[in-house]
């Protein structure tokens, strides 16, 4: 599961959804692998306006990546900064969580990630 995916996901428990604790989910015991993908600058530039930067910063820190800048880079800054483009590409596109858990900060429920597939089905008592 890609780091970028976590930017679009919350706890699947209905009562959690509107709470601030349910987003982003917190990786736990994460086993990461790195793909080697060609960088696509256009895509990164088009993704930037979609990204919730504070949530991405939290995820990056929790996965052991260096801290992201406090503010998201502007389009112009990104275009001029190849290193930052590469770092973002690496974090968002190339980093995959193969095994581990995703934990809701509100209810504490842990979603398993196995073989890169996250399981958001709930146990019967939470449905």
């Amino acid at each position: 599961m890609k780091v970028l995916s976590l930017n679009f996901l919350t706890c699947a428990v209905k009562a959690c959804k509107s709470t601030t604790g349910a987003y982003p989910l917190h990786p736990k015991d994460a086993e990461l692998v790195e793909d080697d993908l060609e960088i696509n600058s256009d895509l990164l530039l088009n993704i930037m306006p979609r990204i919730d930067w504070p949530a991405l910063s939290t995820t990056a820190t929790e996965l052991g990546f260096p801290s992201l800048p406090a503010q998201p880079p502007t389009k112009e800054e990104l275009e001029a900064d190849e290193k930052m483009l590469r770092d973002l590409h690496h974090l968002l596109m190339e980093t995959q969580m193969m095994e581990g858990k995703l934990v809701c900060g509100n209810c504490g429920h842990e979603y398993a990630v196995r073989e890169g597939i996250a399981n958001f089905l709930l146990p019967a008592h939470l449905v």
Partner: protein, 279 residues
């Protein structure tokens, strides 16, 4: 015609095999009317979008999610042919299915379809330009449950639409947690039943999904493509959506052949118009 993704690797004894409904979605999503709609909404208006530079760097990449992808033939198609459908390769795609085998199958179908597009365009002058969208993940889940509110730009749903006396038990976290245990014939029948059995009018699952659209679709540009059969009472479904508010729209944008005067299968596009019409 755009090539249909290869699904020869998929175990059809436990994952829904592409059929007339799947192909109707492919045809509709790549039709002139729908590519025109999607291009106008998500940026690339250029007819030659595969080579056009994305000077429109300010248009955020759409997030396209298929619910219940099964083999992945539809999302694999949409991802592989994103430049044709959306007018830009800057498209993010993902899928959610209750069936873990479907998630694994989808991942592979999407990968193959994108690789086929890349292989067929090696003669291109700009080989480094991506020819497909970017697939994020296939995840196990119940409809849109894990998706953040307002995050989805295009939702695609080929539901379990066959009217059945009752709905199969819906799976929980402990069902099929790994893909290592060999499924029994009963397991396989159960998994397939989830892909087609829709309960009363074939609408029990679709009704749940439609009830969640207002939350999960992006407030301004979000839209959904939902497949219905005649027994689903499509006119009533469209009326329900229009009842959500004056900005809501629901129209049939694709259909299979008629049977006894009824469209057997149809695709309904659901969206909100930014500006309310004043008449």
């Amino acid at each position: 015609m755009l090539p249909t993704p290869d699904t020869s690797h998929v175990a059809f004894e436990r994952v829904y095999e592409p059929a007339e409904d799947s192909y109707l979605l492919l045809d509709t999503l790549s039709s002139e009317s729908e590519t025109a709609f999607l291009r106008s909404r998500f940026g690339g208006n250029s007819a030659d979008a595969t080579t056009a530079p994305t000077s429109a760097g300010t248009i955020p990449a759409p997030f396209v999610v298929e619910i219940g992808p099964g083999s992945g033939v539809v999302i694999g198609f949409v991802n592989a042919h994103a430049p044709h459908i959306f007018g830009t390769p800057s498209v993010l795609t993902a899928a959610i299915d209750v069936n873990r085998y479907a998630c694994a199958a989808t991942r592979e179908t999407v990968r193959k379809a994108a690789a086929d597009v890349a292989a067929s365009s090696t003669s291109s002058a700009t080989p480094s330009v991506s020819k497909s969208g970017t697939f994020l993940d296939a995840m196990q889940g119940d409809l849109t449950a894990p998706l953040r509110d307002g995050s989805v730009d295009v939702l695609i749903f080929n539901p379990p639409y066959v009217p059945t006396e009752e709905l199969p038990r819906q799976p929980t976290a402990t069902d099929m947690v790994t893909s290592e245990a060999a499924p029994t014939f009963q397991d396989d029948s159960y998994l397939l039943s989830l892909s087609y059995a829709g309960g009363v009018d074939g609408m029990e699952i679709t009704d749940l999904l439609i009830g969640r659209l207002g939350e999960v679709l992006a407030p301004r540009r979000g839209c959904a493509y939902v497949l219905l059969c005649a027994q689903n009472k499509p006119e009533a479904v469209k009326q329900r959506v229009r009842g959500f508010g004056p900005e809501w729209r629901a129209e049939t944008v694709g259909s299979s052949g008629k049977q006894a005067g009824w469209e057997k299968l149809q695709i309904v596009r659901i969206w909100r118009e930014e500006e309310q019409e004043s008449s």
